[in-house]
Symmetry: C2
């Protein structure tokens, strides 16, 4: 029986001898998350949520799976139409897929509930998405996204708002002004640039694509690297050669001039000059009047740059960056990326390029798939793990703010009920506490308590019971004792680290230890 013929639900069990056991193993490309990471993520998501709510977005939740045809397929990897998503067939033969982002399900939801929804429809959504891709370092098959979208808003004011939302979110997360920047560009302006240097039309599609990809790499390769990729091509450090766009020197100079511009106002004269140099772009009557980038530029200046500046966001927070291309997906207008700009170093002191932590853009075509009508929409998405990773390297959101429980040890197995009552007393006083529930001896119990990371243990042997006392042992202080050489100091610290209190004063005694480690 071939593996291929195995039925789901039986797995390989049917071909395996009865006494062989399945291996306990996490599937490739997936992760478990322990307490600290979960706490950190939740705290970060809570902050993001509060900003999105302040902006008037409402939460929405859609299921993990959608009909495959409704989900569509907008992953970058267009070459393998069946790859990228996890799919399975329902009992009525319809294909279902796990969602690969939160935007495609939003388009389905908006189209399905069009009548009842307020328009524009503004929602935020947080949830897991899945990609059936080859896993690699830092590249997982399940990850979390946090999106905000405004559907049914033709005005770029909606895009301007998302840029301000990104800036406000960064500051709410504790990233100081100057240590982040939201970079904005327009896909339409980029198209206009290409037209201005004579790269319009289907015939130049592949050249445009290579040129966009090259521009997108500015921050990694620098101007010279981009020049190579716009021209004959580039050999990287490993010796691999990437074929270039084979543009003329004039075309390359023009794109480099564009890449050096820092706002849309200064871009206008640059593009005018380029257009003049290249003999201009003829209008439909063969004249020279038509400037293909003009409308797109004006839209960006009037509807994005101006309101953003008027609302008090300077170029230190939201800047216009002509190298922002945002992959090759479904974007149709403004695109934006948020970067952490302070130097971030990993544990080994290596500088880290984190890339964009919050990005998005306008996608006017996505709902049209269902309704046939163009529905203008724009959205932004937080890369949850990447952002948390960056914030943690900046010393924030460590998830270490909840101490482990106070552990009441089991000295005498016949007195479980007494110990349980002590736990109860602590919990009633709102102190995180638990009874040791294993069956090992005192040494293993102490080791257990250490692993749980609680502030102290409580124990009561026969002697203490007779005196109506409990022993309280401060685990952190206890761990420092062996390093103390001075005898008096040792005895003093030892007395602090382990002390007896009347059982009736259990709560006060434990509080004494808790107060030592209050943040």
């Amino acid at each position: 029986m071939s593996k291929k013929a195995d039925k789901p639900g039986q797995g390989s069990e049917s071909t395996r001898p009865r006494d062989s056991r399945p291996e306990a193993r996490l599937p490739k490309g997936l992760q478990d998350s322990a307490a600290q990471e979960i706490r950190a993520t939740e705290a970060m998501l809570g902050t993001i949520k509060s900003v999105f709510e302040l902006y008037g977005f409402e939460p929405l939740s859609t299921p993990a799976m959608e009909y495959t045809d409704a989900l569509g397929k907008f992953l970058p990897d267009q070459d393998r139409p069946n790859a990228g998503v996890f799919s399975f067939q329902d009992d009525d033969d319809q294909w279902l897929s796990l969602r690969y982002d939160l935007t495609a399900p939003l388009a389905r939801y908006f189209a399905e509930n069009f009548q009842q929804l307020p328009k524009p429809f503004r929602r935020y959504q947080t949830g897991l998405v899945w990609r059936n891709e080859k896993p690699g370092p830092g590249r997982f098959r399940q990850f979390m996204q946090f999106d905000a979208d405004t559907v049914g808003a033709p005005s770029f004011a909606a895009d301007a708002e998302l840029c301000m939302l990104a800036a406000d979110t960064m500051e709410a997360l504790g990233v100081p002004r100057g240590d982040y920047v939201v970079k904005v560009n327009s896909r339409k302006v980029l198209d206009g640039v290409m037209e201005a240097i004579g790269l319009q039309g289907e015939a130049n599609a592949s050249k445009r694509l290579i040129a966009f990809r090259a521009m997108d790499k500015l921050d990694r390769l620098g101007i010279d690297g981009v020049r190579d990729l716009l021209g004959p091509g580039r050999k990287d450090e490993s010796g691999d050669f990437t074929k270039g766009a084979l543009l003329t020197d004039d075309q390359i100079d023009a794109i480099v001039a564009v890449l050096k511009s820092t706002d849309f106002k200064s871009l206008g004269p640059i593009l005018d000059q380029i257009t003049m140099n290249s003999g201009g772009v003829p209008d439909e009557h063969g004249g020279l009047a038509h400037l293909p980038y003009e409308d797109a530029l004006n839209e960006m200046i009037e509807q994005v740059e101006r309101p953003v500046r008027l609302a008090g966001y300077g170029p230190d927070r939201i800047c216009f960056d002509p190298s922002i291309v945002r992959g090759l997906e479904y974007y149709t207008g403004p695109v934006f990326e948020t970067e952490l700009t302070s130097t971030i170093k990993d544990e080994r002191g290596q500088e880290i390029r984190l890339g964009s932590v919050m990005s998005g853009g306008r996608y006017d075509g996505l709902v049209e798939r269902f309704t046939g009508e163009r529905v203008p929409a724009t959205g932004i998405s937080v890369g949850v793990s990447r952002l948390l990773f960056g914030l943690q390297l900046l010393g924030k959101y460590k998830g270490d703010d909840v101490p482990g429980p106070v552990v009441v040890l089991v000295f005498d197995k016949d007195r479980l009920s007494d110990y349980q009552r002590m736990v109860q007393t602590l919990r009633d006083a709102d102190i995180r506490a638990e009874l040791y529930l294993g069956s090992s001896g005192m040494k293993a119990q102490m080791k257990y308590a250490d692993k749980r990371g609680g502030p102290c243990v409580v124990l009561q042997g026969g002697d203490e019971k007779e005196r109506d006392e409990v022993q309280i042992k401060d685990l952190k202080l206890g761990a420092t004792l062996t390093a103390i050489e001075d005898r008096d100091e040792y005895l003093k610290k030892q007395a602090e680290a382990q002390f007896a209190v009347p059982e009736a004063e259990l709560v006060a005694g434990v509080r004494k230890v808790l107060d030592r480690y209050k943040a």
Copy 2:
């Protein structure tokens, strides 16, 4: 080309003419959730989490999918081994399945990380689970669970703790003492009961199964209904006949006597009497000494009942109910269910039987699948939707505590930036606000603001602009105006419902309206 041959990712698109569009439809058995439900669920989960944390449980998160053989198959529906879970094959031919509960992944996680974990391992986990089952009313293919488990704890003190956890959780959620009860039983005691009436051994397995199922239905069918099911069988209201266990009258009387007992102490003498009546259960030497339920009863009395009572939980909160069977799954010891006992009525005044909202039990065999060693474990699971449904019928967790945003209307499209700045001013004052981002006129904008559920709108036309003023319109008060017949009263209310303030006092003006509706 048959439907069956369709490839995932292409769906039916490949067989469809180019211009036909996919239908925007939610897959069957799945749900979208809007803002109110999401807010209510989050608030409820937050409360549950705080209690679980107080008890010393730590959060854990595992991925949505597991290798099918590692996940195992412990769904009630054992007749269809491939059904019940959503499965798909990875590119290396290994089968993956979406998790159907949070316990099977916990067993995998514990077995995989055995060396590093503190033992006992105590974790809580909240997450979605999926069942590939026929959907029905209130029966969905994706739902949320919230579990707490202690793995590696042989002592029933761990089970006692979960019963107290359930009681504390109910009270933390605002369910008054007396309006909930945690019902406890033991699978081992039930086995002893069966043995005491001569239903031991493989030969009686199917009779025991039917008898357990009958006992489980006590609260729905009453004692007479259970008697029928223990005997020849029962015809329900619809005329359907359910075959019974065909027990003797003595056996039925004995089970009914057991069902009428209310604690484990009183159960002892009842079982002794039954054992005597039935001629006793012979021990291995043919004597009469062996009482099969004795150890199980003592365990429950000493390790569950006693510590629970000593910790102050009376039978009004945690009671012993011999009819609790907990399905036919992997439980091996104590089992428990939590019920809301106050009369709950739906919107039409119909009384509702909600069933258990938080249940679990001991499962000592689950990790053994991987390790070959028996690992004692016990856990409890919250039925998130059902509990929320019950709490909402009790008037709690309605999710209506966040008002919609203040909407700044667009009177003059050329002044978007001015309006955006007003929004910014409100947000800076921590007031939830947004700019109207659609392209419709004033009437549609007012309708939009109404739908968003915000307290008021802000508008500024040319006249107001000239006077440096803004108009603020209270939407709730505005909606009550038409019902006012007295002219003076109308004018007074109208003046309250819509008023002008200097633009510099925008925040104070909006606050005036917000204060009217503060909870």
